[in-house]
């Protein structure tokens, strides 16, 4: 046996013991335990669990998401677990959440175990493969409905007052946030970002009636889909409170279009298809001017983050080609901002 196998076997034993304790099972067997591809920030493991209780044995297809070793972001893992659990309970298509472990002595870092939803996650396949011809027609309206349902969750009912929050006026908060990050990290003057900040402060939309939980990275790359359409929304890592329009603006960014720029929403449909479906499902009339504000915000946010990525290389000497080259993607956000405000 090589080291990797020894490590995997140890991991299986620990996961078995953890599940047995959490579910008060007499016996737990794990089958098909394997690491799944992807998951740059975290490891994803897939397995089937045979769980024997006092009266019966149940079988579940599960996924375990493990933070990087030594990670200090345990609190956000709890947050993600709780947001996904609430979303599942409120009928949003989200995997069912089972157990959260924040004790690093078990697997070296925080992890949670959730239902495994079978399907595809690669956006490019959704856009191009014959098998998804029908899915291409329905995914965006389905995602709009799921998002409306998610935004309708009352944060107070689930104890989410403590999620990161921009306060009562999210638009103004995020302008200040972007400005602060921009001024702290920029190494060269960026007139387009100055212009974006100026334009945004002239076009601040009215605050929402109440804050919703915001997914924070809502796009086709963060769903599991099949030929029939959306099966589950995933990746709630940066969920926070805010204006629901924030998710809709982010959804329309060019970065998710896989080159199909004539279709604003992830290369699949026009904005109006998304807006219509969201309005029908939520009963909220979307102010088109406000939508423009949130798209500019999304691009500015991604723009200042490209600078942060570049600085992890420039300042810290992190020798990662991808991080370094992200510094040259700032212009992609700049052109989008100019197209939106010009």
């Amino acid at each position: 046996m090589n080291d990797a196998q020894v490590e995997a076997n140890q991991m299986i034993e620990r996961v078995k013991a953890f599940i047995a304790e959490q579910g008060r099972f007499k016996n737990v067997e794990l089958e098909n335990f394997k690491r799944m591809p992807g998951g740059t920030s975290r490891e994803i493991w897939s397995f089937d669990a045979l769980m024997t209780g006092a009266e019966s044995t149940s079988r579940r297809s599960l996924v375990l998401r493990l933070d990087p070793a030594g990670s200090r972001i345990e609190s956000s893992r709890r947050q993600e677990f709780q947001v996904m659990r609430a979303a599942h309970r409120e009928g949003v298509p989200v995997p069912e959440m089972f157990w959260l472990c924040e004790d690093p002595s078990v697997l070296g870092a925080s992890f949670f175990i959730m239902e495994r939803v079978e399907g595809e996650t690669i956006a490019r396949k959704l856009l191009r493969d014959e098998a998804y011809a029908h899915a291409r027609q329905v995914v965006i309206p389905q995602m709009a409905e799921a998002l409306a349902k998610f935004h309708a969750i009352d944060p107070a009912r689930h104890g989410f007052e403590l999620l990161p929050s921009p306060g009562k006026d999210p638009a103004r908060f995020w302008i200040m946030y972007c400005e602060e990050i921009y001024r702290r990290y920029t190494l060269d003057p960026h007139p387009t970002f100055e212009l974006a900040l100026r334009w945004m402060s002239e076009h601040v939309p009215p605050p929402p009636r109440r804050l919703s939980i915001i997914h924070g990275d809502y796009r086709v790359g963060n769903i599991i889909f099949g030929p029939e359409g959306v099966r589950a929304v995933i990746d709630f890592e940066i969920a926070h409170l805010g204006d629901p329009l924030e998710d809709l603006g982010w959804f329309c960014m060019r970065a998710w279009r896989s080159g199909q720029d004539n279709k604003a929403v992830c290369g699949l449909t026009d904005r109006e298809v998304l807006y219509d479906a969201y309005e029908k499902a939520s009963g909220i009339a979307l102010d088109r001017q406000a939508m423009r504000f949130w798209e500019v915000y999304g691009n500015l946010r991604w723009g200042v983050f490209t600078m942060i990525h570049a600085r992890t290389y420039l300042d810290g000497g992190v020798a990662n080609v991808e991080l370094a080259s992200i510094g040259r993607r700032t212009a992609e956000c700049e052109i989008e901002i100019l197209n939106l405000i010009g």
Binding site: D188, L197, V321, A331, I335
Partner: protein, 128 residues
């Protein structure tokens, strides 16, 4: 004067090595990083070919927008410094609200669009 291969020719062979030899022989993250590195080589190739012309255009357009005398053409290093200081001045004037009128805003957006399209012609021509 250096001997052949030129800088661009050398970058080409490195890009091809990364793309056609290293990437296919690698998996996962290493394969991805090799492809990103090949793309970086292409960015540098385009920058070598286009930087000077782009800086000339940028400096000219910014000087006109800010109603400054057009800086006399100089070395590449002087052009870079002119672009830096004109961009800095434009930032300050936008921030101070001096370019808020409808016509000044439209002119500013037009100039910035030309400059950013040039940046993309080097960084990511697929975005044009």
């Amino acid at each position: 004067m250096q001997d052949r291969p030129t800088a661009i020719e050398l970058l080409e062979i490195v890009a091809k090595f990364l793309e056609h030899e290293l990437a296919p022989a690698s998996t996962g993250s290493r394969r991805f990083q090799a492809l990103v590195a090949a793309n970086v080589m292409r960015i540098v190739q385009r920058e070598i070919q286009l930087e000077e012309a782009h800086l000339g255009e940028e400096v000219g357009a910014l000087a006109a927008l800010l109603e400054r005398p057009h800086p006399a053409s100089g070395t590449l290093e002087e052009l870079r410094r002119s672009a830096q200081s004109l961009n800095q001045e434009l930032c300050e004037r936008i921030r101070a609200g001096e370019l808020d009128s409808e016509s000044a805003r439209a002119r500013t957006v037009e100039v910035l669009r030309r400059i950013v399209l040039n940046k993309l012609a080097i960084a990511n021509p697929r975005y044009l």
